[in-house]
Amino acid sequence: MDLLSNLALGLGVAFTFQNLFYCFVGVLLGTLIGVLPGIGPVPTIAMLLPITYALPPVSALIMLAGIYYGAQYGGSTTAILVNLPGESSSVVTCIDGYQMARRGKAGKALSVAALGSFIAGTFATLVVAAFAPPLAEFALKFGPAEYFSLMVLGLLAAVVLASGSLLKAIAMIVLGLLLGIIGTDVNSGLQRFSFGVAELSDGIGFVVVAMGLFGFAEIIVNLEQKEHREVFTDNVSGLWLKWSEFKEALPAILRGTGIGSVLGILPGGGAMLSAFAAYTLEKKIAKDPSRFGKGAIQGVAGPESANNAGAQTSFIPLLTLGIPPNAVMALMVGAMTIHSIQPGPQVMTSNPQLFWGLIASMWIGNVMLVVLNLPMIGIWVKLLKVPYRLLYPAILLFCCIGVYSLQNNVFDVLMTALFGVLGWVFVKLECEPAPLLLGFILGPLMEENLRRALLLSRGDPTVFFTRPLSLGMLVAAGLLLLIIVLPAVRKTREEAFHEEAA
């Protein structure tokens, strides 16, 4: 069995002392920021990227991946105990998890969340191992036209995730693409939009953009609201589930795992979308939907399994196609390029140890997370009591030092402040920043593939429609657009109608 020998190779890499250590650091940090509301995986990974310069690439990626799926575990703790989403993907866990806690079942809710996440994590690891190789082989057949179409599809699919206006989300992508091409043009050597500033000739660092838009902007918005945080319970006990409770939760866990695995693979998917879809499904198929919102164990089990599965399988498009499906994966692209690894289908053949080591580490990380999150829950509860007024200056500080150390450059720190303002403006205007970051990462790649495709076809734009794979992806992108647009069209029509009637 190829799969088994590959996994064995991966386990061999992941089980070295150094990689176990970084895996542990990753999941520990992930749990930490997952528990703390107000800081998510995107700024954390951005903050830690500079440190990974010094690490071997495998260890670096193992640690960064651990932060992402670790945050899914930590997020549920805060959702259950404080009724605040520690992580955006735990929003739905608040609904039933907090209700369980109010009925004295906090321990059980935490157990179900951790258990579900673990089962989902194990399954998702196998999904990644099984599906990544054939997809990567398929992707090796891609030419520039296919890549361009694939990016169009990926970016449009990412819009599905963005809440709110479709038009704004697409505009954010285009703006991201535009910001991405600032700097020296690879083909002509011309400096584009760098205004003679030497620091801009290499382009704006994506850490600068990510930290400004996600890190700083979020702190500002949090500070505009008055803090209200109440830890529901001091002592969490009764972690053990009764057999009957386990039997109730298991089908929901399995369904959540399935949904999460599928939605994670799709471009634009990931943890948050998976959790929402799983909750909706559980509510739909429940015999007694009225229990939801009143502490239904399935309402915790389904979404918590789904978000963890989704977090892990969203590595598939990154590892096989080199296309990041969400903002965290966009940062992983950055982490790989720092170590001069070009993400894409060739990673698996040129760097099998990195590829399989990363996948195997996910399972090991999940084992560590169960231990971290259940027996040691008391520590995390205490952490929740650190007030935000002490927390955010420290986050700011680490962000600043992180940005500075990228290139030992003060200019980058000032640029991040600028993107912080921009991010705040986007929040005020209800423009989701994630599509911008994706566009930003893909901008240069997209231009390059567009150029090459049209160069090969001698300027004939029909090349995108005559190659079957490319056509298929563009048709898929078109269908996707249609699906999102149709209800929106109806809605605006209704609005207009209402106004006329009034």
């Binding site: 700083f216 500070l223 505009e224 600043c400 500075y404 150390s405 209800e430 423009c431 231009e447």
Partner: protein, 153 residues
């Protein structure tokens, strides 16, 4: 009733159109080339024009649909948080990591509605010590730790 009925759409429309316009104007001198032999100006100009179009649609939409107003409860956090970052950036080379950290923490802490002088000062000193230990010595960051004019030995 004012003309702009959806301020958020209007604002984002202006923002996108502005960026698009800037791209087209600033990139006017870049050679565009042809589709087969694209110059460095081709892709940015195309993106700029798309942004202008999308911005225009959003602006038009804002006149025809209604939406909630833009709410800014207080401007203090934006100014204070960003000022503290800029202060850090400007101070870190001439004053060194320790003083820059203390400045950043104290300035940024004032943005909270629960700001306390003593607490902020204590936090800043603790964090400065941690940062020097972790980044200055541990990771050997290329930064002056103490103000260079004090002489670093």
């Amino acid at each position: 009733m004012s003309l702009i009925r959806n301020p958020k759409d209007f604002g984002s429309g202006c923002l996108f159109a502005g960026f698009g316009l800037a791209a087209v104007i600033l990139g006017a001198s870049y050679p565009v080339g042809t589709a087969a032999r694209m110059g460095p100006g081709y892709f940015p100009r195309a993106l700029g024009l798309i942004l202008i179009a999308m911005g225009a649609v959003l602006i038009l939409k804002s006149l025809r649909t209604t939406g909630p107003a833009i709410t800014i409860p207080t401007l203090k956090p934006v100014f204070v948080v960003l000022a503290s970052v800029v202060v850090f950036g400007l101070a870190v080379i001439p004053l060194g990591l320790v003083l820059a950290t203390i400045l950043l923490i104290v300035v940024s802490s004032t943005a909270s509605h629960e700001f306390r002088w003593k607490e902020a000062l204590v936090a800043s000193v603790v964090l400065a010590a941690f940062v020097v230990a972790a980044f200055g010595y541990g990771l050997n960051l290329q930064l002056p730790i103490l103000p260079p004019f004090l002489g670093r030995s």
